[in-house]
Amino acid sequence: MTTPSMTANAKQPLLEIRGLQTHFPTRRGVAKVLDGLDLTVGKGEIVGLVGESGSGKSVTGYSVIGLLKRPGQIAGGQIIYDGKDLTKLKPKGWEDLRGKEIAMIFQNPRSCLNPLLPVGEQLTQVLRYRRGMTKSEAKAEAIRLLGTVHIPEPERRMESYPHQLSGGMAQRVMIAMAISCKPRLLIADEPTTGLDVTTEHQILELLREMRDVTGAGVILITHDLNMAAEVCDRIAVMYAGSIVEEAPVLEFFSQPRHPYTLGLLASRPRLGVDEDIPVIPGNVPDLIDRPTGCAFHPRCRWATAACSAQVPALVELAAGHWVACHNTEAVARDVLAAN
């Protein structure tokens, strides 16, 4: 089975997710939150994972780092990281892997820090425990790391408690902590939620800088296309637990081909345009009682009989541009006509 961008991007990808099924059994039935997700991340690549709330973006992140909340479980598919299938990993293996190979940063950075300990203490603990440093080595390294993420006066800041930090500052500390054990894959789950626009920009810049310095691959989970456009090399759009379109960032914005992507791009507010924002009709599908065929067909104006009968496979339209749709030709024709 070929997966998107395997041919287009790196020859040996860092992370390759194949047909991932993450299910949440509930009283009403099994919610297939991820249903056949394919995603590849190359070394030193920033991949934007975009979709609306409930599309399974965060669950993808938690599946990759093995921190699914109960009752979530991986029911099928593979997560190949560095040649190993993570879905077969034992708990001890996860502990060794997290931090050193894969790390994650979250939204609400201030609540991600232990409120009782100064941030320097938390950082040095990780360095001593995970990298076997002595107390003084760890302290020097922690100060260096805080400097790396552009925290002014890092020596003084070591003493700060989480409640004394601004949101942006706390996210910088989290990033310092995430890169402290030199992971090769960083998952950033909406890292700028709750931060103001200037800080958001700075955090994104920092993420890109960290990628340049460490060469780590990054999955940037966001619902904000503009944010993805700012830093990502490649963008993958998720809908109801699978990827519907994936393309290099320039092509993504210039030649979108999936009806859902078109809807997302059209519903972005634009400056100086005084019309109603077009919205995608309908709602996100019920993940327990999923639509047959393409999950998007009940909301799609291009839908045909084939759409409700068969799940469309991801097809490579151009180099690195993958779309899962039965009617790409009709969509392309209409888009060209509209322009």
């Binding site: 921190l67 609400n108 820090l113 009782l116 004394q164």
Partner: protein, 301 residues
């Protein structure tokens, strides 16, 4: 990173206050204690008790174990402030020395039950599922035992004495701490810092004992202050019914038992003063506990 000497310190450095120095934190603690009369009175009583226990030999006018056949069961007077017992021992000295034994029993019982109960509750909440269910049902069974019957069982097994009192009081208080810790831990284990710690590779033990437990200790400490009062009552109760230290010992419950034996003779001073000592001690710990709850609970600020 060193700044050139003529460069001003960046403005951001001033915008946040850093960790206040030790002296300032102590002043802050004292200020909140002073603004809460309940806690203040409780603290004064508790500290006085501790001082009395520590300096008992200096405070007591007589040796509490010295028998004086010349002065048997005398009512309170200038020479014997609280009177004397059937053996002519000075009741005031006995009560003063009794604070040592009672505080010792209370402190060891509270420490033992706090450590074990907190561990049990934290582990039950963290593991969840059947572990939680199983552990907490055992706690239910423990709590369902009539307390004195349980103590009698322990006394039957190892004989009455100091150890019996400490073991019985600790074991009986374990479920309370376990339950409290569990209730604080359940929401805490879902916190983001726990997940963030795991995402960086921390082991379960590190997440639980390094991050979660320290964040759950405030209500435990408040509870333990209240528990001191109960432990003193329980210890005295066990000694009173003869399961604790022998009646000749300088211990408040034993002393009340001694006075009770002479009840019909009308020697009220033998049991009244140790009884008052127990009441004051329990009151002190309860006031301090309630006050601390007010001070430390952010919702009440």
């Amino acid at each position: 990173m060193a700044h050139a000497p003529n460069l001003p310190v960046p403005a951001t450095a001033q915008t946040y206050s850093l960790r206040p120095p030790f002296g300032e934190r102590m002043r802050h603690g004292w200020a909140s204690l002073r603004s809460n009369p309940t806690a203040l009175i409780g603290a004064i009583i508790v500290i006085s008790l501790l001082l009395i226990a520590i300096f008992a030999p200096l405070i007591a006018p007589y040796d509490p174990y010295e028998l004086n056949m010349e002065a048997i069961a005398q009512p309170p007077s200038g020479a014997h402030l609280f009177g004397t017992d059937q053996f002519g021992r000075d009741v005031f000295s006995l009560v003063v020395f009794g604070s040592r034994l009672d505080l010792l029993i209370a402190i060891s019982a509270v420490i033992v039950s706090l450590v074990i109960g907190t561990l049990i509750g934290a582990i039950a909440a963290y593991l969840g599922g059947w572990w939680d269910e199983g552990i907490m049902r055992v706690m239910d069974i423990l709590q369902a035992f009539p307390r004195f019957i349980f103590a009698m069982g322990i006394a039957f097994a190892i004989g009455p004495g100091l150890a019996t009192v400490v073991i019985a009081t600790s074991v009986l208080n374990i479920p309370g701490y376990a339950r409290l810790m569990r209730s604080v831990m359940l929401p805490a284990k879902k916190s983001q810092y726990a997940m963030a710690a795991q995402s960086i590779g921390s082991s379960h033990a590190n997440v639980l004992f390094g991050h979660l437990v320290p964040n759950c200790l405030v209500p435990i400490f408040v509870q333990s202050t209240l528990q001191f009062g109960w432990a003193i009552l329980e210890a005295a109760g066990l000694s009173f019914i003869g399961l604790g230290v022998e009646t000749s010992a300088a211990e408040w419950g034993a002393l009340i038992q001694l006075g009770f034996q002479d009840f019909n003779a009308g020697h009220w001073w033998i049991y009244t003063f140790p009884g008052l000592a127990i009441a004051v001690a329990v009151l002190g710990f309860n006031l301090l506990g309630d006050g601390l709850q007010d001070i430390l609970d952010p919702r009440r600020q």
